[in-house]
C-alpha cells in the first residue's frame, strides 16, 4: 500500500516534469544596459536603449533602439516584437532622464522599476540637460557598452566628491520619506565622452533646479560620512589640492526667535596633495594652520552658497527635516516643512585637520 502511494506520487511528479514554463535561455535573452527617457511629443514619451550584440558577425548599429509609448511599460512592450529574443532588464545599469521629463515628474516612470523583481535596486539614475537619446550617437572609449562605462564612471573607485550616485532604491526612499528630497546627478554628453556636472534637485518627484559642481561637493560633505576625495582651493593665487580622508558632519536643529536654526559642524581629516606655491611645511605649524584656515573659510562659503540655493528652491536633499523630526520632534511640522526650511537659519562651523603632507615638501 505504502509503496503504491509512493510510486503513484513519483509518477505524478514525473508527469509534472514535462513542461518548463519559465525558461529563457541566456543566449536568447537580450539585456539592455541603459534606458533613456525623453519628454512627451504627440502624447508619447520617447525612450531609447542599447542592447549589446553578442553575435560577432552582426552589423554594429543593430543594437540601438528608439521606442515610444504613453508610459514606459507600454513603450517597452512595443519594443519586444522588434528585438530578437526576450528582453530582460536584469542587467540594467542606468536610467537617464532628460531634464524636461524630470521637471514633469519621475513618479510615472518609477512604477515599472519597482514592480518588476528582476530590475536591480542598484540601477543608477541620472539627468541630462537637452535630449537624453542623443546618447546613441556617442561612442565612448574604451568600450562600446555605455551602461558599463557609466557604471564605472560612478562606481569605479574614483575619489571625486561630485560623483554623487543615486540608485533606484535611494531615489525611491527619499521620494517617499517626508523631510528629505531626492537628488539626481546631472550628466552632460560630449561627443565621445560624458561628464558629471552637478546635480538636479527635486521637490518630491519634480526637478526644480540644478546645483553646480561646487555645490554638489559641499552637499556631499554635509550629507554623507567617511568620504574621500579632492578639494581644490586657491590660496594667494596659487592652487592647493586637499585630499579628504574622512569627514563627519553633525547637524543640530534648534529654534531661535520662532525660526529654525541649524548648527552644522563639519570635521575633516585632510592630506595635502599639491601646493603650487612650493611652501615648506615641515617645521612650520603656522603655515599648516593657515592652510587649514583657508580650507575652512572656503568650504564655509561654499556651504552657505549651497544653502542659499536650496532654501531658494525649497528643496531639502540633505534630509534636515528628517533630522529635525528625530532630534526635535516639537519643531517639525510636515505640512509646513518647506516654508520652515526656506526660512531657517544656517550656521556652519568647519574644523579641518591636516594629517599627512606627502614624502617631501
Amino acid at each position: 500500500m505504502q509503496n503504491k502511494i509512493k510510486i503513484i506520487t513519483l509518477l505524478l511528479i514525473l508527469m509534472l516534469i514535462v513542461g518548463c514554463w519559465d525558461v529563457s535561455e541566456i543566449d536568447r535573452t537580450r539585456f539592455p544596459t541603459y534606458i533613456t527617457f525623453d519628454q512627451k511629443a504627440d502624447d508619447v514619451y520617447r525612450f531609447s536603449t542599447k542592447i549589446p550584440v553578442l553575435k560577432e558577425e552582426a552589423p554594429e548599429d543593430v543594437s540601438n533602439f528608439r521606442f515610444s509609448g504613453p508610459s514606459f511599460y507600454s513603450g517597452f512592450k512595443d519594443l519586444q516584437p522588434r528585438v530578437m529574443g526576450k528582453i530582460s532588464l536584469a542587467l540594467l545599469r542606468i536610467a537617464i532622464f532628460s531634464e524636461a521629463v524630470a521637471q514633469e515628474g519621475l513618479k510615472p516612470h518609477l512604477d515599472t522599476f519597482l514592480r518588476d523583481p528582476v530590475i536591480p535596486g542598484s540601477t543608477l539614475f541620472a539627468i541630462t540637460p537637452g535630449r537624453a537619446d542623443e546618447i546613441i550617437d556617442i561612442e565612448v572609449a574604451p568600450t562600446n557598452d555605455i551602461g558599463e562605462y557609466l557604471e564605472l564612471l560612478f562606481n569605479g573607485g574614483t575619489d571625486d566628491l561630485i560623483l554623487l550616485e543615486t540608485t533606484l532604491n535611494d531615489f525611491f526612499i527619499s521620494l517617499l520619506t517626508t523631510g528629505v528630497d531626492p537628488i539626481i546627478p546631472l550628466l552632460k554628453y560630449g561627443t565621445d565622452d560624458m561628464e558629471v556636472k552637478g546635480a538636479g534637485i527635486f521637490q518630491n518627484d519634480r526637478m526644480v533646479g540644478q546645483l553646480s559642481e561646487k555645490e554638489v561637493r559641499a552637499l556631499t560633505l554635509v550629507k554623507e560620512k567617511g568620504l574621500k576625495g579632492e578639494i581644490e582651493i586657491k590660496v594667494e593665487d596659487e592652487i592647493v589640492n586637499y585630499y579628504i580622508q574622512n569627514n563627519r558632519a553633525k547637524i543640530e536643529p534648534s529654534s531661535k526667535d520662532g525660526r529654525l536654526k541649524f548648527q552644522i559642524e563639519l570635521t575633516l581629516d585632510v592630506d595635502i596633495d599639491e601646493d603650487t606655491n612650493f611652501r615648506r611645511l615641515i617645521d612650520s605649524p603656522s603655515t599648516i594652520e593657515r592652510l587649514e584656515e583657508e580650507l575652512n573659510s572656503n568650504l564655509k562659503r561654499e556651504i552657505y552658497l549651497l544653502f542659499d540655493t536650496l532654501q531658494e528652491l525649497k528643496s531639502d536633499p540633505i534630509g534636515l527635516g528628517q533630522i529635525t523630526r528625530a532630534k526635535r520632534f516639537d519643531l517639525f511640522d510636515p505640512d509646513e516643512w518647506r516654508q520652515d526650511f526656506s526660512r531657517a537659519e544656517i550656521e556652519v562651523d568647519i574644523n579641518s585637520r591636516i594629517r599627512r603632507l606627502g614624502i617631501a615638501t
Partner: protein, 517 residues
C-alpha cells in the same frame, strides 16, 4: 508487491537444497558411512575416495575422502597416509581399539595441527565440502577431520581503489584467513573477537564478524547477528550481498555500510566501536554502522598534519556539493535566473552559448551521459587502453563537440569540474548515489530552476536525516548534532583532541584511553 517478489524468490531458490537439519550420526560401520556420503554428494570427478589399511599389519580398513583440488597432496601423502600406513603399530584386540586409535592418532601419529573429531556425519560432510580431508576407520563411530587445505591465492597487494600517498600499502585479498591475519597482526588486544559464521545455503561462505568486545555496543552486535540470521540466500559471492540484505532502508541510493579494502581503515573503525565483516572470497571489508561523513574521510587525514587534513575535508565537502548540484546550478542560472549572474559573466556566457542548438538542459544531459559512458568504458577496457580512452574521449570529444557548436565551452567546464569533483570523494561507493542524484537535480532545475534546486536539496536532506544504519543516525554528527563529533567531520582537529570515541556510534567505553590512576 515487494513482498510477493520476495516470496517468489524465496520459493524458487531453495527447492533442491540439502536438508541438513536432521543430523546423521557416524556409524561404526565403514561402509554405511561411505554410502551416506555417496548418496549425498554428486559424483564429481574431483572427489576422491581412497581406501587403505591402517598400521603395519594392515588389519583395519580405513578410508579418506577429499576433493583433490582443495588440499595439499604433498602433506596428505607424506604426513597422513605414510604415518597411518607405516608408522602406526596397533594392538589388534577389538576391545581397546576404540580408545587407542583415538588417543594415538591424535597424540602421536598424524603430525598436523588442525585435527578434530566429530560424531556427526552432517558436520563431516560440511567440512569435506569446505576443503578438509575426512578419515573414517572401520569400527569407530567417529570421523577425523584433517585440515590440510591449500587454496590458490594472490599476494597481498597495494590498494587499488583507496590508494593513499602516505599510509600502509596493503590491501585485503580474497582468502578470509589472510584477511584475518592482516587485522590480527595489527591489533594485539585480548578483547578482539573474531566470530566465523557460514552464510549462503549452497555456497556456505565463511563470514567473519570482527569487533572489540569491550568497546562495541552490545545492541549493535545483537542487531548484526539478528540480521545475519535473517538472511536467506543461496549464494554469497561478495560482501556487497551482505550489505544489501542488511540495510535499514532498501530503497535508499546511499550506501548504508562502508566497504574498504584497507586493513588500517578497518582497524581504525574497530577502535571506534564498529563491527567489521569479512567474507571469504571478497577483498573488501564491510564496516557497520556507518555515518555519511565517513565517506568523506580518508585514512591519510589521520596520518597527515591536521591543517592539510582539514583543508582537504572542506574540499571534499565542496566536491560533494559540486558533484550533486553544479550542472543543476548551471542550468538554473543559464536558463532562468540571469540576474543572479554577475553582469560580465552573464554577457560572456551568453556569447559562449550563441549558436548552440540545444537548451542547456539537453546540453547538460548529453555531456553528462557521454561522460558516464566514458567512465564505464574506462573501467571495462584493459589498463593502458582504458586510460587512453579517457584522454581521447575527454579531450577530443569535448573539443570536437565545442568546435561543432553542439555544446558551449562553459558547459564542458561544468561537466569536467563535476567529474573531477566526483573523484575527489575518497569512497567509490559514495559517489554512486551522488551521480544518480545529479540527474534528478538537473531535471528539477530544468523545470523549477532555483526552487527545484532547493526542493531537491531538501528531499536529499530529509532522506539523509531519516536514514539509519543499524539504528545509528546516518547523517550524524550534523543531524542530530553531536558537537564533540564535529571535530572529525568537515574539519579535523589535531590528534590531541581526539581522546574520545565518536559519540554518534554508541560504545561501551567513551574514552579511547581510560584515565590512568
Amino acid at each position: 508487491m515487494w513482498d510477493k517478489i520476495k516470496d517468489f524468490f524465496k520459493s524458487n531458490n531453495f527447492i533442491n537444497r540439502l536438508d541438513l537439519e536432521a543430523e546423521e550420526k557416524v556409524s561404526s560401520n565403514l561402509e554405511a558411512n561411505i554410502d551416506y556420503l555417496k548418496d549425498n554428494l554428486a559424483p564429481s570427478s574431483d572427489l576422491v575416495f581412497r581406501s587403505f589399511h591402517i598400521g603395519q599389519k594392515k588389519e583395519i580398513d580405513a578410508e579418506i575422502i577429499y576433493f583433490n583440488e582443495l588440499i595439499n597432496a604433498d602433506i596428505l601423502q607424506k604426513e597422513v597416509l605414510r604415518s597411518l600406513m607405516f608408522d602406526l603399530e596397533l594392538d589388534c584386540s577389538n576391545r581397546t581399539i576404540k580408545k587407542e586409535i583415538n588417543d594415538t592418532l591424535i597424540n602421536s601419529t598424524i603430525p598436523i595441527g588442525e585435527l578434530e573429531t566429530t560424531q556427526s556425519l552432517t558436520k563431516a560432510l560440511e567440512q569435506l565440502l569446505s576443503g578438509d580431508v575426512i578419515l573414517f576407520i572401520e569400527g569407530i563411530p567417529k570421523t577425523f577431520i584433517l585440515g590440510i587445505k591449500e587454496l590458490e591465492k594472490r599476494e597481498v597487494q597495494t590498494p587499488q581503489i583507496e590508494a593513499v600517498t602516505r599510509g600502509p600499502q596493503e590491501s585485503f585479498i580474497e582468502p578470509l584467513s589472510t584477511n584475518i591475519s592482516l587485522i590480527r597482526r595489527r591489533i594485539k588486544d585480548n578483547n578482539l573477537m573474531i566470530d566465523i559464521k557460514q552464510i549462503g545455503e549452497r555456497t556456505k561462505t565463511d563470514l567473519a564478524i570482527i569487533y572489540i568486545d569491550d568497546i562495541v555496543d552490545q545492541d549493535i552486535i545483537k542487531k548484526v547477528r539478528d540480521r545475519l540470521e535473517s538472511i536467506e540466500i543461496d549464494g554469497v559471492l561478495e560482501i556487497g550481498y551482505i550489505n544489501q540484505s542488511f540495510r535499514d532502508n532498501w530503497a535508499s541510493p546511499f550506501p548504508q555500510f562502508q566497504t574498504t579494502e584497507r586493513p588500517d581503515k578497518a582497524l581504525a573503525n574497530l577502535l571506534e566501536g564498529k563491527v567489521v565483516l569479512l567474507l571469504d572470497g571478497s577483498p573488501f571489508a564491510s564496516i557497520m554502522p556507518t555515518t555519511f561523513i565517513q565517506f568523506l574521510q580518508s585514512p591519510e587525514d589521520y596520518y597527515d598534519h591536521f591543517y592539510i587534513a582539514s583543508l582537504l575535508r572542506l574540499f571534499r565537502v565542496a566536491a560533494t556539493f559540486i558533484t550533486i548540484s553544479l550542472p543543476a546550478i548551471y542550468i538554473s542560472l543559464v536558463s532562468f535566473h540571469h540576474e543572479l549572474l554577475p553582469r560580465e559573466l552573464a554577457l560572456s556566457l551568453a556569447t559562449a552559448r550563441e549558436g548552440v542548438p540545444f537548451p542547456s538542459v539537453l546540453e547538460a544531459f548529453i555531456m553528462e551521459i557521454s561522460l558516464e559512458f566514458l567512465r564505464e568504458a574506462g573501467i571495462r577496457l584493459p589498463g593502458p587502453i582504458g586510460q587512453t580512452i579517457g584522454i581521447v574521449g575527454g579531450l577530443i570529444l569535448g573539443e570536437a563537440a565545442v568546435d561543432a557548436g553542439l555544446v558551449s565551452p562553459p558547459m564542458v567546464i561544468v561537466v569536467a569540474l563535476t567529474a573531477i569533483a566526483s573523484f575527489v570523494i575518497p569512497s567509490y561507493s559514495a559517489t554512486i548515489p551522488l551521480r544518480l542524484l545529479r540527474f534528478s537535480m538537473m531535471l528539477l532545475a530544468a523545470v523549477f530552476s532555483t526552487y527545484g534546486l532547493m526542493i531537491g536539496w531538501l528531499l536529499i536532506l530529509i532522506h539523509l536525516c531519516s536514514l539509519e544504519s543499524l539504528g545509528v543516525p546516518y547523517f550524524a554528527p550534523f543531524a542530530p548534532i553531536k558537537l564533540t563529533d564535529l571535530k572529525d567531520s568537515f574539519i579535523k582537529f589535531p590528534l590531541k583532541f581526539m581522546g574520545k570515541r565518536p559519540e554518534s556510534t554508541p560504545t561501551q567505553q567513551k574514552k579511547r584511553q581510560p584515565d590512568k590512576e
